[in-house]
């Protein structure tokens, strides 16, 4: 029984109580212990088995427990009224020096490799189940309940602070390690995405246009908008102008397809959202975007340019954007339908409402269309005023 220690009755850090059972008798080996009171309260925690009587508080670290057994009730036990028992096998004591009475509660007992717990008032089944569970989990190994050495004085406080700092640093480096591994993961992910997008493109090419699965198209579009592999950052350039120029080039590369899909024009607000979405975490400010867009004319091979409308709305315009083509398209649509709202027009052509509206207003200025403003909203009609034969003739 020299594996047992005195305890303070306090729980160790990280230790929780699993089950408590009173009126438990402790046996050393098969014999009763040589103490006045041999019945006490047994408490099983995640780290220790505690046993206390009125005058004695002892505990056994669970690391010393080898295995559990339930004492088989002999035929006599039923009649003799003996209490059911758990046999706890422990590792033999490995201490070099014999223990003194100061540190060992059961100094008088002869060394054995097991002891028994007798449950005089029941509770054995619950106790042994929990006990086995805890032995399996080995919680004490994960969080060794080492008694914290309290440091005193200013030096102690300083050391505590140092310790704290070291711990924080360790946490941070761990976190960054996670990020690194995430970034390592990102590469295969990007590759995977590329493969899928290629596949989608192939499928799209194979199936004829009207058969093309709308979902595939959308998926492909989303993939194409995946992001920028290596965003331009302020730190990499010495001057703001250079930074903005490179940002402008990046905008060209990234938004080229998007602007084309949007009908050749895109408002700066949308461009701002798009570019920042593509950049992920390294977002840019609206001012940076504005400055970059102003640099677009200086960027080599720029496919986009900044254009300001009479209404002071600024847009990115694709180099291939043909106003007249758009105009013809819109006009033929008006002719086909008799009249059109900017919204209908936008839906039919797939071009953003803003761009379509500009075209419609331009057509109106060119005397091709005229407008009908009512409670139902704005509608454009073919200009019958100027294109329907002279009034005098009729």
């Amino acid at each position: 029984m020299d594996q047992w220690d005195y305890t303070s009755g306090m729980l160790l850090p990280g230790e929780t109580v699993a089950v408590v059972q009173s009126h438990v008798r402790v046996y050393n080996g098969d014999d009763k212990i040589q103490a006045k009171v041999d019945v006490g309260r047994a408490t099983l925690t995640t780290h220790r088995l505690l046993w206390e009587t009125g005058s004695l508080k002892t505990g056994l670290l669970l690391g010393k427990v080898q295995k559990l057994d339930k004492e088989s009730k002999g035929f006599t036990a039923v009649f003799s009224g003996r209490s059911p028992k758990i046999i706890v096998h422990v590792v033999p004591s490995q201490r070099q020096q014999p223990r003194t009475a100061d540190s060992c509660p059961f100094i008088k007992e002869k060394p054995t490799t097991f002891f028994k717990l007798g449950f005089t008032q029941g509770g054995l089944d619950e106790f042994i189940t929990k006990f086995a569970d805890i032995l399996r989990q080995k919680t004490w190994e994960k969080l060794p309940p080492a008694e914290h050495n309290r440091r005193l004085g200013i030096l102690g406080i300083e050391r505590d602070i140092d310790d704290e700092a070291t711990r924080t640093e360790q946490k941070i480096s761990e976190a960054f390690h996670d990020l690194k591994s995430l970034m390592e993961m990102a590469k295969p992910m990007v590759q995977l995405a590329k493969t899928i997008s290629d596949k989608a493109a192939k499928i799209a090419a194979r199936t004829s246009e009207d058969e093309e699965d709308a979902e595939t198209v959308r998926f492909r579009k989303q993939l194409l908008n995946l992001g920028i592999a290596d965003p331009v950052t302020k730190d990499s350039y010495s001057s703001r102008a250079e930074y903005h120029l490179h940002l402008a080039m990046e905008i060209c590369d990234t938004l080229d397809k998007v602007v084309l899909d949007a009908g050749g024009m895109m408002t700066l607000v949308e461009a701002y959202c798009r570019i920042n979405r593509a950049r992920g975490l390294l977002v840019i400010s609206p001012d940076d975007l504005m400055s970059a867009c102003e640099m677009l004319n200086k960027a080599p091979n720029a496919t986009l340019s900044l254009r300001e409308f009479d209404t002071e709305v600024k847009v990115l315009q694709h180099i291939s954007f043909d106003e007249d083509l758009q105009l013809t398209q819109v006009l033929s649509l008006v002719e086909e339908r008799g009249s059109i709202t900017p919204n209908e027009c936008a839906i039919t052509t797939g071009v953003p409402m803003f761009v379509v509206q500009q075209s419609l207003i331009r057509a109106e200025a060119l005397e091709k269309l005229c407008r009908d403003e009512s409670v139902e909203g704005l509608r454009f009609y073919p200009n019958l005023f100027l294109n329907s034969g002279s009034i005098e003739a009729s």
């Binding site: 009249s339 109106e364 200025a365 005397e367 005229c370 407008r371 009908d372 403003e373 009512s374 509608r379 009609y381 200009n383 019958l384 005023f385 100027l386 329907s388 034969g389 009034i391 009729s394």
Partner: protein, 195 residues
């Protein structure tokens, strides 16, 4: 609609335009707008000549097309009146019936504040001709005198009232074909002397 279905050839384009929603919206494009007012003039002429209607108010029935749920805005009517006045298709006839003096032309829009308009559904010159025609048929062209009442009795001037006649005769004086004889109040016309 019925009232403006006059000439059979013109019926088509009138119908076409009267049910054309943009006709009821002030067109921002200047040439479109000019043409739009021309259409409105033509519409009003057709409509008024049918019923010999000389006065057009802001609540003119023609200005509301229930069939397509459109009507003219106040702003539009002001613009339209301005156009009609500026192009000598009509004169303002506010309040007591005396036309507003032309000196008030520094006003931004001549149709501003005009509630009703004397509208020439046939050009003013044609009215002068008709008046002189009347004088000839009654043998008055050589200094004969007719009263306003007598003229208004004639079938050629159905729907015309004294107010309109006064404006016409005052205008006709400049062509030296007639002379107006005013009553003591200086406004009412006692008689007209034709030359």
């Amino acid at each position: 609609m019925e009232s403006i279905e006059s000439g059979s050839q013109s019926k088509n384009w009138i119908e076409q335009f009267y049910n054309f929603p943009p006709l009821f919206t002030l067109q921002p494009n200047p040439s479109s707008r000019k043409r739009q007012f021309e259409v409105w003039t033509k519409l009003l002429q057709t409509h008024c000549s049918k019923s010999n209607q000389f006065i057009i108010t802001r609540t003119e029935a023609l200005f509301t097309n229930n069939e397509i749920s459109r009507d003219l805005s106040e702003e539009f009517i002001t613009e339209l009146f301005s156009y009609l006045i500026d192009n000598d298709h009509g004169v303002p006839s506010k309040g007591g019936g005396s036309p507003k003096p032309k000196s008030k032309e520094e006003k931004h829009l001549s149709g501003q504040g005009v509630d009703s308009l004397i509208f020439w559904f046939i050009p003013r010159e044609r009215w002068y001709e008709r008046l002189y025609e009347y004088a000839k048929t009654n043998g008055l062209q050589k200094g004969g005198i007719a009263t306003a009442f007598e003229i208004l009795e004639d079938q050629a001037f159905t729907g015309m009232d004294e107010r309109v006649l006064t404006i016409l005769l005052n205008g006709m004086m400049s062509t030296r074909k007639c002379e107006v004889m005013l009553a003591n109040d200086g406004i009412t016309i006692d008689g007209v002397k034709f030359f």
